[in-house]
């Protein structure tokens, strides 16, 4: 029983720590964002409380000190710096490591933690002297800290101070405010900085241009702010302009929080509360058919800006409300339960194929109709189940942000990671296997692509390099692009290296694309100096292999001096796919439908006139093809008319000659197992309706094999 709670605790802690990493990294770029600091504090506070509760005293004690540091940040006695972020990130990593141990934690790990804390305390002593004086807890070394936190953990978790509240802020500056040198924009920015804020300017008072006095202020502002800071913080913003403006600060009672069923406030309620309209006028307006806002404006009861301002508030409250709601709308499920569900659905799909086959043989209308309905349901069930396993790829992006941060400082470079399309969804298993290849690509970009700050300045670029990570859907695939604005690939260096490695003859010319693809060859590196990061030529070939295994493809684009883009094309899922069932002799194969372009027929006579030229015209393009019968050493005679399935592999088309294209097939992919590890061109197997096994083709690998063999044949012939 305890174990169950412990594992729930760990799961929660992993998630909190992963969030914490995000928050810290975000905080580095927005060091003044109080909301972020509060979020970090809350996360660490929760870890501290629950770790103490489950007997992880070491974690609890360690976390206590980190919490203290964050508390100083909250009360403003310690400012957020890159150095502090570095330390807290390390502390986070340490907590993550501690979670792998049970009490008692090995001495050397504790020692590491104490060393880290010593650095943190030293930093606080240096950067926040006030903090040291006012917080004796910080001076207490780990053993005492342990005691203190253990006490605290016994009680129910204390309410975190600074629960967020929403305020309505009215700012009506007098027209002469500019003459005093007050920057109104700064005030508004300060308000926005306090939390989640929406500002609405009322510009209705601005006169025609000829009567406008440029030194007067005609605008007023309404803001809605959700903050943990409290009312006084808002007053503080306006402290120097109190006699220059009319300031109104009101707390909005979010009824929805007390009574979640009530939903968000209606526009009328807000207007009445604001005193913009009386309840009577509102009721009168409501009796007409038009939208409330329009009616009120038409009747000149309120002005248009007032309506818009109120609508903004409504929108804001809705957002705040939704954020609260979102938590309750999801449930946490162990991932192996999901995997089991996917397996079961897979079995159902297989069984359904059998049912269909049987029904076809029975030729019974009643059974056929049931089978059809059954198929529709199962197909929906399949899609729904697969969608449960879909995760936004953004969950892995944070890891990469950290990689960029750590590696760039190690290399003495300046770089930031910009992510796009973080909410693009992919099967969990695919995301898990994408992590390593992406890390390799990003490291490669940082090491080879991004130049040192001085070199970048000389080249007319900003000191800070940018690595962009973008993901988006494209049919049944996801495109993931990693681009940098570094120096790009060096064509000549790659060429020379290829000749040196014997991959290229000295006189041989290659298309740019083919040449660049050589960096995916094993042990290929043009780095002159071997660093800890790269230069040993491991990496890009690993990327290629992993992506191939996922059934995806890799493409490279580069411009000298401008940067490089690596594009990965990955199938959405690996477990159940739509396939095209084909037959060769008595053997069945499945080609993933996502890579199929089309099918064409080819007669024997056509074949013979073509002779050895294994090329066919398809939509105005010459496409090389391969006979799967020959390639797989199948027995039997070729039929009079063969069919060619045109597929896309590595961004090029290739044709596969088969005896017959049978049709679409929902394919539950089963692994072939380790014994068939060295078999190329087959990515798995599936069970057909009659219970026999069909093999699933690995189109990318097959295409490469075809190319390789064609090249060898050419070399032998020449």
């Amino acid at each position: 029983m305890i174990d169950k709670f412990k594992s729930a605790f760990k799961e929660e802690a992993f998630e909190l720590l992963s969030n914490l990493e995000d928050i810290f990294l975000e905080l580095e770029s927005h060091p003044l964002d109080l909301e972020l600091i509060n979020a970090a504090f809350r996360a660490i506070h929760t870890v501290k409380g629950s770790s103490g509760m489950f007997g992880y005293d070491t974690i609890s004690a360690f976390t206590h000190e980190v919490e203290t540091a964050l508390d100083h940040c909250r009360d403003g006695t310690l400012s957020v710096t890159t150095e502090l972020i570095g330390l807290t990130l390390k502390a986070r990593d340490h907590i993550r490591r501690l979670l792998d141990f049970e009490e008692p934690v090995p001495g050397e790990i504790i020692a590491e933690g104490e060393a880290l804390l010593a650095r943190l305390l030293a930093y606080i002593a240096k950067a926040g002297p006030e903090a040291m004086a006012s917080a004796p807890a910080a001076t207490a070394a780990t053993p005492n800290g342990k005691e203190a936190s253990a006490k605290k953990a016994g009680n129910a978790p204390a309410p975190v101070p600074g629960e967020s509240e929403t305020y309505r802020v009215r700012f009506r500056p007098k027209s002469g405010i500019f003459r005093d040198g007050t920057k109104v924009l700064n005030l508004l920015e300060e308000i926005s900085g306090l939390g989640q804020a929406e500002n609405y300017p009322d510009t209705s008072m601005i006169p025609e241009l000829d009567s406008l006095d440029p030194e007067s202020c005609y605008c007023t502002w309404d803001s809605v702010l959700t903050t943990t800071g409290g009312e006084n913080e808002i007053h503080d913003v306006f402290i120097f302009v109190a006699d220059q403006a009319e300031i109104g600060i009101e707390r909005i009672d979010i009824a929805s929080r007390i009574n979640p069923g009530a939903g968000t406030k209606r526009l009328g309620e807000i207007l009445v509360e604001r005193g913009a309209v009386s309840g009577e006028a509102l009721r009168e307006a409501l009796s007409s058919q038009k939208r409330l806002g329009e009616v009120l404006v038409e009747k000149h009861i309120v002005s248009k800006p007032q309506i818009e301002s109120a609508l903004m508030e409504q929108e804001h409250l809705k957002k705040v409300h939704e954020r609260g709601e979102g938590v309750a709308a999801t449930i946490r499920v162990a991932s192996d339960k999901l995997d089991a569900l996917v397996d079961l659905v897979g079995e159902l799909v297989t069984l359904q194929a059998r049912l269909q086959q049987t029904a076809l043989g029975l030729k019974d209308a009643a059974i056929s109709s049931i089978t059809e309905q059954f198929e529709r349901l199962i197909s929906q069930l399949r899609d729904n189940t697969m969608s449960i396993r879909m995760l936004p790829i953004g969950s892995t992006f944070n890891k990469f942000r950290r990689v960029v941060r750590d590696l760039s400082s190690e290399l003495g470079k300046e770089a930031e990671l910009v992510a796009e399309g973080a909410d693009t969804e992919l099967d969990k298993t695919v995301i898990e296997r994408l992590g390593d290849p992406l890390v390799h690509i990003i490291r490669n970009s940082l090491d080879h692509g991004i130049e040192l700050p001085e070199a970048r300045e000389k080249a007319g670029k900003s000191r800070m390099g940018t690595i962009k990570l973008a993901a988006k859907h494209s049919g049944a695939s996801v495109l993931i692009q990693v681009s940098d604005d570094g120096r790009g690939l060096d064509r000549d260096a790659i060429r020379n290296k290829a000749i040196e490695r014997g991959l290229l003859q000295p006189g041989q010319e290659l298309q740019d694309k083919e040449l660049y693809n050589l960096i995916f060859e094993p042990n290929f590196s043009t780095a002159k100096v071997i660093t800890t990061v790269s230069g040993r030529g491991v990496g890009m070939d690993v990327v290629k292999r992993e992506i191939d295994l996922l059934g995806g493809s890799v493409q490279l684009d580069t411009a000298r001096g401008k940067g490089m883009t690596v594009t990965l094309k990955i199938p959405l899922t690996l477990a159940i796919i739509d396939g095209l069932l084909v037959r060769i002799d008595r053997e069945f194969f499945v080609i993933p439908l996502s890579s199929v372009d089309g099918c064409i027929e080819m007669t024997k006579t056509e074949l013979s006139t073509r002779g050895e030229r294994r090329i066919i015209e398809y939509r105005g393009e010459l496409v090389p093809y391969v006979s799967l019968r020959k390639h797989f050493d199948s027995s039997g005679e070729e039929p009079g008319i063969e069919q060619i399935v045109i597929a896309t592999a590595h961004d090029a088309r290739v044709g596969f000659v088969v005896d017959q294209v049978v049709g679409d097939y929902q394919t539950v992919i089963k692994p072939l197992g380790r014994m068939f590890r060295d078999v190329e061109g087959i990515s798995g197997a599936t069970i057909l309706g009659d219970g026999t096994v069909a093999l699933v083709l690995d189109v990318n690998r097959l295409a490469s094999m075809v190319q390789r063999e064609a090249g060898r044949k050419l070399a032998a012939g020449a």
């Binding site: 079995e347 297989t350 053997e587 390639h631 797989f632 050493d633 199948s634 089963k670 692994p671 072939l672 197992g673 380790r674 014994m675 068939f676 590890r677 060295d678 078999v679 190329e680 061109g681 087959i682 197997a685 069970i687 219970g691 026999t692 096994v693 069909a694 093999l695």
Partner: protein, 154 residues
């Protein structure tokens, strides 16, 4: 190694010789199953079959022993059993010309056994016994895959 052991074994014919394997390893004996050939796989891997919804390999030990291919047809059985492959338990199907029965017998360790005039590598034999007056060879089936698994690791 103990000089003798006794237990329950499954006896089967393969290439005109009698073999035995420990009965605990055997999950089931399939009378017939459609084997799907895997092109370009190692020759002793005859293909894959559907075994209770999973896809498992079918091995032909005769090819592994270098004695030619086992003919598949009437009477050919597939013995589904667990082997240790590179430290992992793997379920495989093994072709047998025919399966006899489960027997209790005593196995003499290989050191004590007379030469049986087999071309089979001694390392694949963990002992010999007597069954109805004939020699019966106890196979060390894990050993048969050891070399392969370690070759893969390399």
């Amino acid at each position: 190694m103990e000089s003798e052991q006794s237990g329950r074994y499954l006896a089967f014919d393969l290439g005109g010789r009698l073999y035995a394997i420990e009965v605990e390893r055997v999950e089931v004996v399939l009378e017939s199953a459609a084997i799907t050939r895997v092109p370009r796989a190692q020759s002793h891997l005859r293909g894959v079959i559907n075994y209770r919804g999973a896809v498992i390999p079918v091995v032909d030990l005769r090819i592994r022993f270098g004695e030619g291919e086992t003919a598949t047809g009437e009477g050919t059985s597939i013995v589904v059993l667990q082997v240790s492959y590179g430290g992992e338990k793997v379920t495989i199907g093994m072709l047998a010309d025919s399966v006899r029965e489960v027997i209790d017998m005593q196995i003499d360790a290989i050191e004590d056994a007379p030469r049986i005039g087999s071309r089979i590598d001694d390392s694949l034999i963990s002992g010999v016994g007597e069954y109805n007056g004939d020699f019966i060879v106890l196979l060390d089936i894990d050993e048969a895959f050891k070399a392969e698994a370690s070759a893969e690791a390399r």
